[in-house]
Amino acid sequence: MEHSKIPLKFKEWENTTLKRVLDKSAERKAQFTTGSWQAVPRVALPIPLTDDDYLEKLGFPGEFPYTRGVQPTMYRGRFWTMRQYAGFGTAEESNRRYKYLLKQGQTGLSVAFDLPTQIGYDSDDSHSIGEVGKVGVAIDTLKDMEILFDGIPLDKVSTSMTINAPAAILLAFYIAVAEKQGVSKRQLRGTIQNDILKEYIARGTYIFPPKASLRLITNIFEYCANEVPNWNTISISGYHIREAGSTAVQEAAFTLADGIEYVKAALEAGLDIDRFAGRLSFFFNAHNDLFEEVAKFRAARRIWAKIMRERFNAKYPKSMMLRFHTQTGGSTLTAQQPDNNIVRVTIQTLAAVLGGTQSLHTNSRDEALGLPTEEAVRIALRTQQITAYESGVTNTVDPLGGSYFVETLTDQMEEQIWKYLDKIEELGGMVEAIRKGYVQKEIQDAAFKYQREIEDKERIVVGVNQFTIDEEGPKDILKVNPALREIQSKKIAQVKQERNNREVEKVLQALKEAAQDPEQNLMPLIVEAAKTYASLGEITNVLREVFGEYQETVIL
């Protein structure tokens, strides 16, 4: 390649044009960084790229290494799936919200479960006091699931379920509801989160220790490859890692490291890489620093493609594609002047779309205060629709590709992500790194530094530590009925009366025996148990007995 004149000319510019200005007035800060402390150049320069470099690092959309996107036409073909995470109270109430969202033009469902459901406790369990129906819908038995999807044809919608430790059980409920609707499991489309490692790291809804959890996950991979071929069996999630306070680089690095661990576990269980890898999906956060976020998504795609091809010898293109869902950053929302959050969400939406997301949840302006109202959810959905239909950013693939700054940042972040991946390998993989508290400590240090900067006003959050006003707290916060636990408990009692309890006992006993044999796939029995109306808690308790429970490594 011809020697570039640009560096020399740039030095000249620095010594003349730039210097004259800086001599008169300094810049706002001595050093500029992104939201998570990536160095930001004053002016990014062209990265010297030969044609070969371009083809290797960027290539074309829909082709390795997918830096520019996983599909050749991206949003020229069709928009991302607009998928608002929703659920609260009873199955009846959530069912009404889903129907409302579908009527408003939403294109996929995303189910939020309450915490007892996510941790495998029935509503009538003492652990569930105060929590029933609060952060999502309460599901105890197949009965609740039937109500949740009443009148929603499961062969027509795709459904994402934020469920991890008991993912196998909720998937079984879903399959059973579909069959009752006359829909075969082969037609089902959707996703279960099923990502236990980030629960240990950041989100907290774990039940079983790592080994048993990884077994359940590989059981699901295998079962779905044979029986539910269009189902995304896992959504490897950086979202919650970021919410816990990580940097953008840590979010991508720890998520990819989790992904590596799942692939390793599946290969160890004897699965063929190209039979399950195409159904792995990812879930990232989108914060306010627009270019950093876009660079993160692009770097993550490039790295995953390389890992899958070079380390795991995947052959199918689909196995190498990092497909992801995005949610805008909950922790960036402020309780103060909540309308400002609409603007934040707009920037984050743009980041996700310019970064090539496959689906998106936009947060509602009132989520720092409580569950979103219907009006707030509608504005959030409209934000996506305006971006899709009015902004024009959807008309070309990877609009920021070739931006000097974005390409520089993409390379820079890629390098740092690889460093973390190497470090985690050195520690013996992600399960070990978590057990040692390394991952948690890295995140906490970043979270602490971030909060300190806000306290010290080195970082401005509009309406919080600057541009504040006296304001009254909002009045119309969505309230969940406190009597829900009783209502659900009655429903469980009724189901237990109506079902064939001998049949339930028989299948639970069979499940227990199967769980004791590590070679057995537990999915078929869990599906069978679901159909007998065995409750979530009953099924989980059988597994608790065999597998034991995880104890958190508390790091401060």
Binding site: P116, G130, G204, G370, Q451, R452, E455, V480, P482, E552
Partner: protein
């Protein structure tokens, strides 16, 4: 008189959002207090027991799931019942303003909502430390 104020930071209920709790714990430790942190998913019984056994002066509760109306008062009750009636309880998290008067009535002495600076928490502890020092 006690030399150092002891504070238990605790996460009752089932939610795993510990970013705030850990920040408060670390920032208060930096401010010179002795801090014990429970980890997530603690039952009210376990929290009350730990507070009494560790002979703490304050208990700070963090909850983001919406279960505060049930769980915070229950912890206050268990503390009183178990001989920890003089332990001062405060809380934080996603707690709607309308719920705060009710919590205060039931013995939660201060509630810090999102965006509250750490200095507010320190001021609260300092304003109440004489009460603690008076007791022993």
């Amino acid at each position: 008189m006690k030399s150092k104020i002891r504070i238990l930071i605790a996460k009752p209920g089932l939610d795993g959002h510990d970013r705030g709790a850990k920040y408060i714990a670390r920032a208060l430790r930096d401010a010179g207090y002795e801090i014990i942190y429970t980890g997530i998913r603690q039952s009210p019984e376990a929290i009350a027991k730990a507070a009494i056994q560790e002979d703490v002066d304050f208990v700070g509760l963090s909850l983001l799931s919406g279960a505060h109306n049930e769980l915070f008062p229950e912890i206050v009750r268990l503390l009183r019942e178990g001989g920890g009636a003089d332990i001062i309880v405060f809380g934080g998290g996603v707690i709607p303003e309308n719920d705060i008067p009710g919590l205060k009535e039931k013995g939660v002495e201060a509630v810090f909502t999102p965006g509250a600076p750490i200095q507010d928490v320190i001021d609260f502890i300092e304003a109440n430390r004489t009460r603690m020092e008076g007791k022993s």
